[in-house]
């Protein structure tokens, strides 16, 4: 029994004010239109009027307990949802999610209370509040396979954003087809005559990182060529200088970079180091900045439709929670295709270019 809890208008109060029973109030609110329980228009109006006056709204917790949903979609982000420092990972997704949520008339519950351990929020913890929402969207670069499996097994409705292989393929997701776009970009470089490939990727085990890497090496190797793989997490500083030194040494004609920020920084380092881009070195980014960075270079890159990703995830979750909306059945695992942007950082290789 909370002491400080502000008074809450209940159905009983509404009932009293309208001179009906509490059950009647509930009925006019959830009014099945079927002929069995019909309430006279006049009573109905009176109740609605009182509800309007009091700005009454049913307690979602009580509704939930009583077994009906409450039009709440949860959003669980493994990292901060809103941009902190330079990181702005989720914003475009959230934009898409918000639009779709508005369309189908649901509110969004952001699980900001989940405890953060090692910079990541924990999905399962003592005071798990997932069930507060009818279903949940899961956003994060990396997700724990065991947690996902456990979530599927719990039969709680959810959709992951980004492809997830865990739980024997039972994870519902809306992901990006990074593999396809990466293959296209690799093909582009091969067709231009590039033979010396270098790939700098992020140290993540996530599917999205793996997809690009696998796709690039498959494409390059199928052309009888090979690609040097290297990894770094930092987008600046000594580590990136080290990464650049390694690249210089390897003397590729084309450099693929998973992270757009790293691509920008490396391009600047290259130019400062006397290497012309793309004349002496082509650079291809397998990602894109989410917001204008002030960097003027138009990279040859792939562009993921993040906003669409968000809205499609909401549509899928809605279907999982409430059934098909308009007779079109959405696949539980979807891959949205990714745009390839020609850009200005790729050219045919020249002999002894670097």
């Amino acid at each position: 029994m909370a002491i400080n809890r502000p008074e809450r208008v209940t159905q009983r109060m509404i009932a009293e004010l309208a001179g009906v029973s509490q059950a009647t109030v509930s009925l006019v609110l959830n009014g099945k239109t079927d002929s069995t329980t019909r309430i006279p228009a006049e009573t109905r109006q009176r109740v609605l009027e009182v509800i309007r006056e009091t700005t009454y709204v049913a307690d979602p917790a009580a509704r939930s307990l009583a077994g009906v949903g409450n039009n709440l979609i949860g959003i669980f982000t493994y990292e901060h949802a809103f941009p902190h420092e330079s990181s702005d990972f989720y914003t475009p997704l959230l934009t898409g999610i918000e639009g779709a949520a508005e369309q189908i008339g649901v509110d969004l519950l952001m699980f900001t209370s989940a405890p953060v351990v090692d910079g990541r929020r924990r999905l399962f913890h003592e005071n798990n509040r997932l069930r507060l929402a009818d279903g949940c969207l899961l956003l994060g670069r990396e997700m724990d396979a065991d947690e996902l499996t456990r979530l599927v097994d719990s039969r709680y409705p959810f959709v992951a954003i980004g492809r997830r292989d865990a739980a024997d393929g039972r994870i519902p997701y809306v992901g990006v087809d990074y593999g396809g776009a990466t293959a296209q970009l690799a093909r582009l470089a091969i067709d231009l005559g590039h033979r010396d490939f270098y790939y700098l990727h992020l140290p993540f085990a996530a599917e999205s990182t793996r997809d690009r890497k696998d796709s690039l090496s498959a494409e390059v190797e199928s052309a009888g060529l090979s690609v040097t793989m290297a990894v770094t997490e930092s987008a600046e500083g000594a580590d990136l200088d080290l990464a650049w030194a390694a690249i210089r040494k390897a003397q590729p004609t084309v450099l693929f970079v998973e992270d757009a920020g790293q691509a920008e920084a490396l391009r600047d380092i290259a130019v400062a180091d006397g290497v012309a881009v793309p004349e002496q070195l082509s650079i291809i980014a397998l990602g894109e900045r989410t917001r204008p960075s002030g960097h003027a270079v138009d990279f040859t890159r792939l562009s993921a439709p993040r906003q669409e990703l968000g809205s499609r995830a909401v549509a899928l979750l809605d279907q999982i929670m409430n059934g098909t909306r308009d007779s079109t059945e959405l696949a539980h695992q979807q891959l949205v295709s990714c745009t390839v942007i020609a850009g200005a950082t790729v050219a045919a290789p020249r002999v002894g270019s670097m």
Copy 2:
């Protein structure tokens, strides 16, 4: 009774498995450590073991109903919360809000289901769901005074972001001291010797717009000078060209612009028109872009601490909802001070500069 509802492990099941009563399970979970109700370590262990095995988690809805509160702070934004097109008004605020919410362990409920009329969400409507949350933050450039008054009268806990005069000063808010910073900037221009002032502001009736305007004219007039006021909403196109034509005609030595986007655009128009900035015309922005725009000019401007605004609003709302946290009483109406950034768009005026 929901048909599709996934099976849920309950305390009763746990109790059965552990050979205790359901109440005992609840007790070991919420175990007040006070000596009144102590459960023997052995029983306790047995229960905890079963809980671990079954991965049981208490239903938050039930907990909430039982009176432990649902730790939900609502966020009502009059416009889209997440960036749509070029508009990115709320993001920095949300960042601050998220951080503070995490600190005090509450979840965030975004009211995306509120119907949008004329591009703005309606606060009061048939299916008002404000009460879904324990309290609410209100964000928006302009808010309807009557709505605010009604909300205060309803005793629903809320905090507006931005100063609000309505309801005879009874609106709790955390705002920005635009007036103070504007006065400083006006003083700066006056001290540099400027005598011909021009102010281009937005067509809003909001307090934030009014504060800047009033403060600028007060400061300028108190120096025995005057300022030409003009208004435009657009940040580009024919309207802005028109605005520029009017400015040219008035021949000010210093131009104040409320909106940062307009300031950038006007500076470009001026330069293209052969007017050097700041040599021939000083420009001062009474605002700031929320994200890097790619515009290289470092404007003389004021900078509102939006993130802090968000976190302070959460702290205030928390206090209104749950009482003082650490014996420091927060004022119900706060103004956060605004930084003045020297920038590079102001210089002393030259005779016949424009």
